[in-house]
Every structure is written in structure tokens, then in C-alpha cells.
Symmetry: none
Subunit: 198 residues, 4 copies
Amino acid sequence: MAPKTNEQFKQIRKESKAKILVASLELFAIDGYHNTSISKIAKHAGISKGLLYNYFESKEELLKEVVVMSLEDAMTISEEMLVQLSEMSPSEVMKTSLEMFFQMLIENKTMWKLTFSLAMQITNMPSITEVILKMFGDVLQQFEMVLQLNGYEDYKTEAKLLAAQLDGIALHYIIFEKTYNLEEVKEKLIHKYCKNEK
Amino acid sequence: MAPKTNEQFKQIRKESKAKILVASLELFAIDGYHNTSISKIAKHAGISKGLLYNYFESKEELLKEVVVMSLEDAMTISEEMLVQLSEMSPSEVMKTSLEMFFQMLIENKTMWKLTFSLAMQITNMPSITEVILKMFGDVLQQFEMVLQLNGYEDYKTEAKLLAAQLDGIALHYIIFEKTYNLEEVKEKLIHKYCKNEK
Amino acid sequence: MAPKTNEQFKQIRKESKAKILVASLELFAIDGYHNTSISKIAKHAGISKGLLYNYFESKEELLKEVVVMSLEDAMTISEEMLVQLSEMSPSEVMKTSLEMFFQMLIENKTMWKLTFSLAMQITNMPSITEVILKMFGDVLQQFEMVLQLNGYEDYKTEAKLLAAQLDGIALHYIIFEKTYNLEEVKEKLIHKYCKNEK
Amino acid sequence: MAPKTNEQFKQIRKESKAKILVASLELFAIDGYHNTSISKIAKHAGISKGLLYNYFESKEELLKEVVVMSLEDAMTISEEMLVQLSEMSPSEVMKTSLEMFFQMLIENKTMWKLTFSLAMQITNMPSITEVILKMFGDVLQQFEMVLQLNGYEDYKTEAKLLAAQLDGIALHYIIFEKTYNLEEVKEKLIHKYCKNEK
DNA sequence: AATGAATGAGCCTTCATTCAT
DNA sequence: TATGAATGAAGGCTCATTCAT
């Protein structure tokens, strides 16, 4: 049998890593970071505990990579959408941006839950704090653009309000779970921001 | 010679309990429930680990009492303010309610932090979840009233939006700490809700 | 008010001590030594934890005194009965001795349970071991006398057998509780030892 | 390089488990269940505290397995002997059974000590109580058979007496240790039961 | 004599991490 | 690369004992 090429090894590593990251994300989001043991993750990912340490230096490092991965995923989607936005009218951009947000909220509920959860326990893990804060900042910036584009004068403050509004909705959606009527809120919000209330 | 009187013991118990509750609130809010060990709490409160169990049956029970205490504090303030509202005009009620919210946010930052933190972290602690959910519900209800009073037709959905808006602001205020310009956001929000945008 | 006399103080001390000893015996026998906390004993005796240490140096010391008290009680009863035996015929002595044993077993089940329980965990408490061993020795000696009196040639070995027989019955009675038909066994045993089977 | 094979792991597990069980049996029997800490067991077995929980879910579970192991050992021996009995005359069966008992008492002194100790100490551990009671029941049943075979009319009650006799002897043997002349008692007992005293 | 708040050692248990294979 | 046995620090909790009053 021919020895595996470097390429093949890299591929295997990448896949194994991905498998662990996905498993971790799920467990961290559902049970919380502290209630998720390395053992559980390894079992959930179908590998041994030892192997996990071959890919990640520590549990905290693993968490950080989970967060980074999640955010990168989100950014990728977001950027793809931004391309589409470039050809729209300002009011269409506004509407689409909001719809994008709700879509991502629904599709990545797990990630949102993890993000909020971590955002609250930030104190002890600076490296993770940083990533999380960056993400909140990015969203803010994006909405600043959209609002400016739509002619909002005080667009910086307005963006802060809108970002807070959206994060608040996300928070409630996560907390109240199935009880929460996200669709209703979404319609109302879009209606508000896509009329003439500058 | 004589044993301490009942009164004396009661006093001592009350003070020690309060001391523990305050220490716990701070640590739970800052470091999160899981990152706060009984040892840390005891040290922070200046007592021995063992004594803590003279007052609270378990760590979970302690958390519950911390939450209840915090909410009772908040409710007391809130109710005092509600009395004042009864004599105001609808628009004044609106404005005052919002101002009240921001005031409580600033004054009870620790409690807010704890609440959000728990909302995300606590799995499998029904008695605490219950208390937290009740609190979110109460705020919502209060704003439904205010909005209805101010003639909002779709006041139920509007209340959901407003509650989310406020919780979102609180969230950002907690996450960004001193970086966050709360005053600016407050002015803008009040301005929005106290003009004619129903 | 006249100050209490020394006699009165002594009396109070004696009564308090007795109250504690009785409470301890009950709890030790039912729940076992290790499952019985000083707190429980104090509560059961209706006094404070602190006071208990006024009368007994330590938990182990308390146990020792409980054992001693129990055995003294048993000895007292036993000796009273011995007086009666002195006027009987050998075979009557035999029968009465056995009946005495069964009566004491029923009336002092608690004490028997404690005794056996302690007898098994002897290693760590020499002072208690001593007392327990003495008790077993006393019973043995007593039955040696009875058997000798009844003309058993090899009365020393016979006494060992009889003592073992009785302790075995006691053991089963304690272990099987209500399931055990003590009366049936008693009749059979008396029948065996009071016929002509030397 | 290659990971250990399943076979190797199984072997390691088996040996470690056995090591722990043996250490536990000794300590439980000597010091009693409550006086034996997990730390002591680990030290005695030459392993770390943590490893113990790799093999046993809890201290109670460990105790249970110790008991089960002990009884299985005893049963194995017992059954091997029963085979031999099938070809003997009734009086030979009687004699051999008694001799078997004494042999097992000597060879498995530790197990007997543990059994008695637990019988007295264990409250609220139904699964273990059950096993212990079953064992006493088994011995009883076996002797019922033997006595019936030997023509004892009231063999059920006689078996209770004999079982008590034997357990009493075992108890004394355990309590008095080297002081106890087991051989003398054995001879006498066999002599009694193998003559004509029905 | 009497109280119970307070202490601290020790218990059982969990789990991130290491390591021989 | 891959395994899981093994470790040890730390966590929540209990309880005998002390002490100020």
C-alpha cells in the first residue's frame, strides 16, 4: 500500500477537526460550556479523548475555535448576501438585511445561543471575549452602512438602536424557545424600518 | 454566661445570610454560576465554607435565593415608581417608564448581568428558570399596558418589540461596559417613543 | 432564691447525661454509629450541641459510655435474676437462664443490635472493644456455671457452643427482624437443653 | 504507534478492577464500610482516587460488587462440594457439610467478617441488604435439606437452630480472633450432630 | 449550665489533561 | 494517527468540635 501523501493527511486532519468542532458546538450550545465534558464531546464526535488533544491544546482553545468557526460561517453567508445587496435600491437593501438577520437567527440558533451564553461569561477568557466583541462590532458596522444608505441622519446612533433591537429579539427567541412568535415580530420590525420613519 | 438570646441569634443569622447573598450575587454576576465555587464565595464573604451550608442547603438553593432577592429588590423599586405613574398623562407615563428602565439598568447592573447570564447558562434548574422567565414576562406586561394607554393599536406586538429593544440595549450595556454610550441611546429611544410614531 | 446545692447540680447533671445516653443508644442502634451525627443526637435529646460536649469529651467517648451503660443495665437485670436462681434445682436454673436470655433479647433488642454492630468494627476503638469483649466473656462464664451445675462433663466447650447458639439466634433475630419466629426457636432450644442430652 | 488492542485494554481493566476489589474487601472487612474512605482504598490498591471511578460508579456500587464477588467465590466452592455429597450416606453428608462450613469459615474469614459487618451496618442500601439476606437464606435451605435427609422430623426448626449455631460460632471466631479455639468447637459440634440425637 | 454560630478537615465525586502503547 | 487507562487538582458537601456570649 502506498503511504498516504501529505495532502491526504491534511485532508484527514481537516475532517477530523471539523467533526470535533461540530460536535462541540452542538453540545456547548445545548448544555453550556461547563456542563460539556471532553469525554462527552469525544463520544459525540466518535473519537477518543486522546485524539481530541491532538487537534486542540485545551478545552478553552477548542471553545475558541468553535466560536471562530461559527463566526466565520456566519461571515461567509453574510458576505455572499452582501454581494447581492450591491445591486439593490436602498430600501431593498434595508429589507433584505433584516430578512437576512432573521434567516440566520433561525438557521443558526445554536450558534446564537452559544454566543450569547459566552458573551455573559466573558471575564475569564480574554481571547474569546475578543472574538465575540468583534462580531457584535461587525454587525453594528454593517447596519450603520445600511442606515446611512437609507438616508438616516443620525445613522450611528440609529444603528446602535437597531442592533440592540435585533439582539434583543434574538435573546428572547432563544430564551422563550417555541413560545416565541418570531414571524410576528419580524413582520412588524420590517414594516417599521421600511416605511418612512427616519 | 447566659446563652445568647433568640433575638441575638436571629440578628446574627440575618447579617451572615445577607453577607453571603451579596457576595454570591457579585461573583455569580461577574464570573457566572459555574465559574464561582463555594470556596470563592466563602472567601469573598469572609466566612468559612462550612458556615455557608448553615444558611443554604446547596449551591443551587443559594443561587435561587440570590435571584429571588435581586428580583424582589427590583420589584420594590418598580412598584414605588408605578404609584407615581398613576397620576400622569399617557405620554408622561411612556417617558417615565422608559426613564425608569434606564435608571434601574444603571443602578442594578449586577442584577441584570446575573439575569442574562442565568437565562443562557441554566439548564435543568426549573425552579430558577421559572423565576427568570416570570421576570421577563412581567416587564413585557408592563409595557403592554403603557403602549395600550398611549393608543398603540397593535400594542401586544409593539410591546414585544419594545421589550426586545430594551433587553437588547441592556445586553449591549452589559457586554460593552464602559465603552457603551448608554445616555445617547436612551435619548434617542425616548425621542422615538415619545413623538408621534404609532 | 437560694443557690442550688451541690447535690442538686449533681442530680441535674446526672439526668441530662442519662437523657443524652438514651437518645444516643436509640439512634446508634437504629442508624448506626456513623450515620448518627452529634446534631441529630442533640436534637433527639432536646439539648444543644454545645451542651453535649459539656458531658462527653467526644463522640467516641459518648459511644463508649452508651455501651457501658447498656451493659450495666443488662448486668443489673441479670444479677437480680441470679439471686432467684440460687434457690432452684439445676434443671430449673437451666430453663430459667435460657428464658432470661430470650426475654432480654426481646426487651433490649436495640442494645443487642448496637453491640453486634460494634463488635464487628472493633479495630479502631480499643476502649470499646474491651467492654464488648468483657460482655461476651461474662455471658460465657455464666453459662459455664449453669452447665456445670447440670452435670455436663465437658461444660467449658459446651458453654462455648451454647453461647454461640444464643448469639447466633440473636443475630438472626436482629437481621431478619419481624420475619424471624423467635418463639419457635426458643421452645425448641429449651426443649433440647432441658431433656437428657448431656 | 498503534493504539492498544481491545484485548489488551480488556486485560488491563480486568486486572485493575480485581486489584481494587481485593483491596476494598480487605479494608471493608477490617475497618467497616464507613471507616473506609475511597482514598484509603486507592492507596491500598496502589492506584489514584480518580481511577477507581473509572471502574465503579460510586462507593456503594463498589461495595455491592465486593459483596457479590465474595458470595460468588463462596458459592463456587460450595457447589463443588455439593457434587461430592451426592454420593454419600446421610450421616456422611451431615458430617461433610459441617466440615465444609468450618473450612469455608477459615478460608474466607475476611468474607465472613464483611458479611456480618454489613448485616449490622447497612441501613438504606436495599440492593446490598438483599444480597446478604439471600446468602443467609441459602445456607439455611442447604441445612434444611441435610437435616431432612438425616431423618430429623422437625427439620425446618432444627435447621434454624443449626444455622444460628453456625453463625454464632462464626461470629465468635471473628470477634475473638486467635483467642478462639475453633477446632475444639468444631469437634464437639460434629460429635453432637453425627450421633443419634434427633 | 446552655446556646448555636463558626470552623476546618475530610469525604465522595468529576474532569481536564497526560502518556504508554 | 489513535486509544483509553491513569492522574491529580478541584468541586460540593458533611460533621465533629470549639467558642463567645
